[in-house]
């Protein structure tokens, strides 16, 4: 029996680390759903699917057998499809279908990868493998398996289901699957194949880093111009995956630790952001940025947690997002020792992406919580966002701070370094405690200067409105939605944004167009006329005769 259990299951530090957080996020999602999904139909099956997702995810993480792994992994795709179906929008159907085709399709590609692995090694036990990427089947196998990991985590080019799902699925589902569990699983499996099952070569590492950098930049550029709260967050969910892939692609312990740590941090703040977005949706009934605004006074708890998570995702010290990005930067600089100059590109992409993330969240926080409230939305007076929704948000927001300030004392020491079994020597100097004190001192000094100078110099008057009556024009306000629309007008970017709007970069839509072309041709020759069909039979027979008897 013991033999059989190690054949199918294996428990190591990495899987324990991922497993703990799978359970943690499932519990938070269930608590949040008590508030969010209240008074909806079909709740029994909803919670059943959530629990099944938890079980299947744990199964996938602890499997040691590739077949067993793909069984759990593939079943998760079906559960995702069923859970998205609880959305209320009209496009929910199409979104669920799209997500499942991308996930299920890449699962099929993973089957091919597993077949290749079995063909090469004759084994299915993950811990017994160590395949060098020297032959073509080995490279194909790695790429096939990585495609599945990318699709699950939402890295490019399989990312397109994430923003759609974020917009259309019920918010707890978005926070549960694309934002947390699918990230954990996807990056877990990427780490597993990149670190244990295969021995990567430098060119594959460069490929991974290129995918990561491209994902960071492209997705954050898309996020800048979105005007739906949940969709915008969905693009950030894609962008952040880039950092994790980049980190794992560096192939040195610091970078890998950074990638895994970023996976953990991202799930924390991204779930918190989606939970916040759900609270806003519940309170106002919309997620359209143009119609939101000034919610800070009405929803102070949501505002504070959302702000903390926004600062964390933007990589502002001392929050957790900064700690993991800092490790990734160090990992990238470490690759410079191997020679080559590509690391400059990766570093610029990572840092610039981080800056754009901050810019995008300034827009978002302003549009939702600051500024003047829009008049054409009704805020629900009953305050239906209750403690079961606040509790997960507060927990996650405080984790953002704790994992940032005590990054080395808690998460890295307990979870990350044991799971990669290496304690890397850090090249830079970073003392989170001291930095926090410095930042706090900076803020205090800054506010003293601000208060001092305003007390002396500012003159307040009525704003000049050109004689118009402001109150009769409710939309005469700065909503923030349009902050970055001008970047759509700049040179080459204009072309790219236009193509992106036509979904030229969406593999799903491209595939749909190609197949519908073939279908048209095939339907044309299937005209339903008996002589045509007999003609094919004859033609087929003649060709067979020719092949066999020539």
């Amino acid at each position: 029996m013991l033999n059989l259990s190690t054949y199918f299951f294996k428990i190591d530090q990495l899987s324990i680390f991922v497993g703990i957080f799978i359970v943690f996020f499932s519990i938070l999602t269930i608590i949040y759903s008590f508030g969010f999904m209240r008074r909806q139909k079909g709740l029994f099956s909803y919670y059943l699917y959530v629990v099944l997702t938890l079980v299947a995810s744990l199964g996938a993480v602890f499997s040691n057998n590739l077949i067993l792994f793909i069984v759990f992994w593939g079943f998760l795709g079906l559960l995702l499809y069923l859970l998205i179906g609880y959305g209320k929008k009209e496009t929910t159907n199409s979104t669920a279908k799209k997500a499942f085709i991308i996930i299920g399709g890449t699962d099929a590609i993973m089957l091919l990868g597993i077949a290749f692995v079995w063909h090469i090694t004759g084994l299915l036990q993950m811990d017994k493998m160590s395949i060098p990427l020297s032959t073509r089947p080995a490279t194909l196998a790695y790429l096939c398996l990585a495609a599945g990991a990318f699709a699950k985590a939402g890295a490019m080019p399989f990312h397109t289901w994430v923003p759609d799902t974020a917009e259309d699925a019920p918010t707890p589902v978005v926070a549960f699957l694309p934002a947390s569990l699918d990230k954990l699983l996807g990056i877990y499996f990427l780490a597993r194949i990149s670190l244990d099952i295969f021995q990567l070569n430098p060119s594959m590492n460069i490929f991974l880093m290129a995918i990561g950098s491209f994902t960071i930049m492209a997705a954050v550029m898309m996020a800048l111009v979105q005007h739906d709260l949940k969709r915008l967050l969905g693009y950030h969910a894609v962008s952040q995956v880039g950092y994790m892939v980049l980190g794992i692609g560096t192939a040195n312990p610091i970078g890998i630790a950074g990638g895994l740590f970023h996976m953990l941090n991202n799930t924390i703040y991204k779930s918190c952001l989606f939970f916040g977005a759900g609270a806003v949706e519940k309170e106002t009934g919309t997620t359209d940025l143009g119609r939101l605004g000034g919610l800070a006074k009405i929803m102070p708890i949501t505002f504070v947690t959302f702000l903390l998570a926004s600062l964390a995702i933007s990589g502002v010290p001392p929050f957790n997002g900064f700690a993991s990005k800092w490790l990734i930067y160090q990992g990238i600089i470490e690759t410079a020792k191997a020679g080559g100059h590509l690391w400059v590109i990766w570093l610029i992409a990572a840092m610039f992406g981080s800056a754009l993330t901050l810019a995008s969240f300034m827009k978002l926080v302003h549009a939702v919580f600051l500024g003047q409230p829009s008049r054409n939305i009704k805020v629900n007076e009953e305050r239906i966002v209750g403690s079961s929704m606040f509790a997960p948000m507060i927990t996650l927001a405080s984790l953002c701070v704790i994992f940032g300030v005590f990054a080395y004392q808690i998460p890295l020491k307990v979870f990350i370094f044991p799971s990669i079994r290496i304690w890397p020597r850090l090249s830079g100097v970073w003392n989170a405690g001291a930095a926090t004190i410095l930042i706090l001192a900076g803020i205090v000094i800054g506010s003293i200067i601000y208060l001092f100078s305003t007390a002396v110099k500012t003159r307040r008057t009525e704003s000049f409105v050109g004689g118009e009556d402001v109150k009769s024009h409710p939309d005469m306000r700065v909503s923030g939605t349009e902050f970055y629309n001008t970047i759509q007008e700049i040179g080459l970017l204009r072309v790219i944004y236009k193509l992106a709007k036509k979904k030229v970069f969406d593999l799903y839509d491209v595939g749909e167009k190609i197949s519908s072309g073939f279908i048209k041709v095939l339907r044309y020759i299937h005209n339903g006329v008996l002589p045509t069909y007999l003609g094919w039979c004859l033609l087929g027979t003649i060709i067979l005769f020719w092949i066999l008897l020539r």
Binding site: F75, K97, G104, A108, L112, F518, L522, G528, L530, L548
Partner: protein
């Protein structure tokens, strides 16, 4: 020994007898024909399950009709492949009969339906157990003619048209098969398949065997609806009543087409490299063409029919590999496909029953007021699309592993591509028919009757647990013997001949 082997002819005798009795007294009252049909189907279903046990205890069994010793007399054989196919055919037939009790109420003269149905079952069972190539052809024609009539059972315009097309093409296919048999008879001077294999093995491959191979490929390829011989299927399968669609797509194309290809090419003529390559190529072609056409359909049953072409392609591809794993995977997919495709066709019948339409554009939101139908659709769809843990996943996995193991990486990519197409087409069905908001016209719909539900529930359970057939130990009982029979190739004949003499 001889006592036990006398169950072999029962597989044709019981359905033939059932058809006869139903046509005699079934017209008196509906319940009589229902009862007789259920009894007949149950008996042959139990017998076929029993034959698995008998085969595992006694090995290959043979039966000489009328006590005449082959090769003069007619021989019947029960081996691994036979028991496997018998279970597939009779299990599906049993579920279909249960379903028909309620579904066929809308047609007049139900007894005629049952008579034709059991005639078809007798033909299929006869094809499977026959050890004699001419009897094989006779049973094949019985099953085909019965199926032409069943396709036209509704006698509406498009049904008659479909049946006419089917009859013309089917007859041409049969003609090629008969010509091939005649040529082989002339060449080997025997009609017994085992004897024929012996004689052929002693002679070298000549142009004559190759020519006969082409004729069989065309004839059986047409019965199995392999591209480019598939023209009749997309008309015939949707036009028939739902239980018959389930039988045609579920088992008829497999017993008359795939089984015949397996038996003749593996056990009689002997598989050769060019034939194997042709089978693989045609399989891959069928997969892609059927898959793409299915994706473009808006008629639910026509979509299912094209998808059958695509799935037959998978089976032919896997069997064409002619490796042990490939044959096992192909046969397992054959079993799974017959279960879940019957399930999907029966379910399309219940959708038509409750909504009165087959057009996906006229449906929507059925999951809200037809939860059972919706669940069955999900189970069948996920199984055919190869989503774990349903049975379709396991056969897809095995097919892909077998194709990669044989070093045919290109075909492996095709198989993956088509599995994505399959997922897309069934999600299309789910999206347009079952999810979304409920259409106004579908607010008040009929309930699915209990026997229809029962039959679908049985098939759904089988497709849920079908993967267990691969568990080591269980596969020895059912799948392995069938695959081993094919792997023995022409050497298999020696066992039969000693048994018969």
């Amino acid at each position: 020994m001889s006592n036990i082997s006398s169950i072999i002819p029962l597989f044709t005798a019981i359905p033939l007898g059932g058809a006869f009795v139903i046509s005699l007294i079934g017209r008196k009252a509906r319940w009589i024909s229902d009862l007789l049909a259920i009894l007949t189907a149950l008996v042959i279903c139990v017998l076929s399950l029993l034959s698995v046990r008998i085969y595992n205890m006694y090995g290959v069994l043979t039966y000489s009709v009328g006590g005449w010793i082959p090769p003069v007399g007619i021989g019947m054989v029960l081996d691994g492949l036979t028991t496997f196919m018998l279970v597939v055919v009779n299990l599906v037939a049993f579920c279909v009969v249960i379903y028909s009790i309620n579904y066929m109420e809308r047609f007049t003269s139900k007894w005629k339906f049952y008579t034709l149905f059991f005639l078809m079952v007798a033909g299929m069972n006869g094809v499977i157990i026959s050890g004699d190539i001419f009897n094989f052809f006779v049973f094949l024609e019985i099953a085909s003619v019965a199926s032409y009539a069943l396709v036209a059972f509704g006698t509406e315009k498009h049904e008659l048209e479909a049946a006419f097309k089917y009859a013309v093409m089917g007859t041409i296919g049969s003609l090629f098969i008969l010509l091939g048999i005649a040529l082989l008879y002339g060449y080997t001077s025997t009609l017994n398949m085992a004897d024929m294999a012996n004689v052929l093995a002693q002679k070298n491959t000549t142009n004559l065997t190759l020519m006969v191979s082409v004729m069989f490929l065309m004839g059986f390829g047409l019965k199995a609806a392999i591209v480019p011989f598939h023209g009749w299927l997309p008309d015939a399968h949707p036009s028939a009543p739902a239980p018959i669609s389930a039988m045609l797509s579920g088992v008829l194309i497999k017993s008359l087409g795939i089984y015949a290809i397996c038996r003749i090419f593996f056990n009689v003529i002997g598989i050769s490299q060019p034939i194997s390559s042709i089978l693989m190529f045609l399989g891959a072609l069928s997969m892609v063409v059927g898959g793409l056409l299915a994706l473009g359909q808006w008629d639910l049953k026509r979509l299912l029919a094209y998808s059958s072409i695509s799935q037959i392609g998978y089976i032919v591809l896997a069997i064409g590999l002619a490796t042990p794993l490939g044959i096992l995977a192909g046969l397992f997919h054959l079993f799974n496909h017959s279960i879940f495709k019957s399930l999907l066709f029966l379910n399309s019948g219940s959708v038509e029953y409750i909504t009165g339409t087959r057009d996906l554009k006229k449906m929507g939101g059925l999951s809200q007021n037809a939860p059972f139908t919706s669940t069955i659709n999900l189970i069948g769809s996920m199984s055919i699309a190869g989503i774990p843990p349903f049975s379709g996943f396991w056969s897809k996995l095995f097919i892909i592993v077998a194709v990669v193991q044989a070093g045919r990486f290109g075909y492996a990519f095709w198989a993956i591509l088509v599995s994505i197409l399959t997922l897309a087409m069934y999600l299309k069905v789910t999206k347009y028919a079952f999810s979304g908001s409920l259409k106004e016209s579908l607010k008040h719909i009929k309930k699915v009757p209990v026997f229809m539900k029962l039959s679908m529930a049985i098939l759904a359970v089988i497709t849920l647990i079908g993967g267990l057939l691969l568990v080591p130990g269980v596969d020895e009982l059912f799948l392995k013997p069938a695959a081993d029979t094919m792997l023995q190739g022409v050497r298999y004949s020696t066992g039969i001949l000693t048994g018969l003499k």
